[in-house]
Symmetry: C2
Subunit: 202 residues, 2 copies
Amino acid sequence: MLPNGVGTFDLGITERKRRERAEREILIVDTARRIAEEEGWAAVTIRRLAQDIEYSQPVIYSHFASRDAIVGAVAIEGFGELAAALRGAAHSASSPKNALAAVAETFLDVAFDRPAIYEAMFVLPSGLRFAKSDTPPQLRDTFDALAAVITPFCQDVEVATETFWASLHGLAELERHGRIRPAFRAQRLARIVQMVCAQAPK
Amino acid sequence: MLPNGVGTFDLGITERKRRERAEREILIVDTARRIAEEEGWAAVTIRRLAQDIEYSQPVIYSHFASRDAIVGAVAIEGFGELAAALRGAAHSASSPKNALAAVAETFLDVAFDRPAIYEAMFVLPSGLRFAKSDTPPQLRDTFDALAAVITPFCQDVEVATETFWASLHGLAELERHGRIRPAFRAQRLARIVQMVCAQAPK
DNA sequence: ATTGATAATCTACCACTGCTAGATTATATA
DNA sequence: TATATAATCTAGCAGTGGTAGATTATCAAT
């Protein structure tokens, strides 16, 4: 037994290992995200990930239970960044209507500029659960950022936010799938903003 | 050479074969749809399809170039049915506002009652191209059915229809993915209808 | 320094996928 | 009945997500 009663000298070693493991986990997520952005999610296979991080496949599974869980990790990152971008857009606006328009435009910008992350957040199976006790705060933050700009134009904030969010997501999805004309994106956004603003508050 | 100069007696045989081939193609699409509805699209594999229609896998590929093409065939069927359902809903309504509400509700009903077909139409890769020369009429029909009920409430019908469509699709997708509360579907729909109706025509 | 236990990692595999080359069987004509 | 052709099948490729079990490195205790 040791003088301090702990039974070991290597708390520092254990700590270093814990840290290295955490770094490797971040490396996996970053690598998945990079491949997805450059070549699409279909290119993000476990073998490819293992090759790129220079470990064998089972190591990936010692960090994530499934491929979906890796998508989920990228999605959470994406929600954090989306929430920040939306808050930034709202903050720079000079009126409630401008804030609404800026947030809507920013949402679509993210969807089209970073389609892989957007897919992870909204389209692919990711194992993420919303409005549950284990829901990551980044998801709530995104919802709240949308709610903040819609509040001046509605009575029921939750319902209005869900509806606003759905409209934006629908615009992103239909355009991503080539169902609606890219050239008229701004006009569709203007119509949404116009309709929301026509609603009386209280 | 034969008296009629055709060089063959079996035009009837050729015709029968052509017919049998067409029937088998329909069987493939119907089978794919059935499996997708009962067990999800992941269960629709080429091997499974081949087994169910009692032919080998290459026979499937003699009808469809890829699995995606089969999804596309189911999607086209779905668009035909969706267009009909939307037109029916609009027809039974007593006012432009009621028609709008009925169409919106019908759209979501289809999305939730037949999720596999909805996925084929809007989510999965299907090889379908919109607003192109080779676009099947069923797709245009669906768009037109939406346009018909939105026309009384807008100036630019195309933009308004795209926006309306996107809102409905977004509501369907977010609810399907558990992002928004199923219990408030009617309230979200009511808000959409309310917003559209607040717009001036002219 | 050498042991024995433990943790970390890898090799090799499973069952499955979409898809296809080439052999085989059935069919229609001469 | 022989031959060309069309229809169909068997068997395989290269890839997937995921994992069991052998192997290696690392540790504490002698």
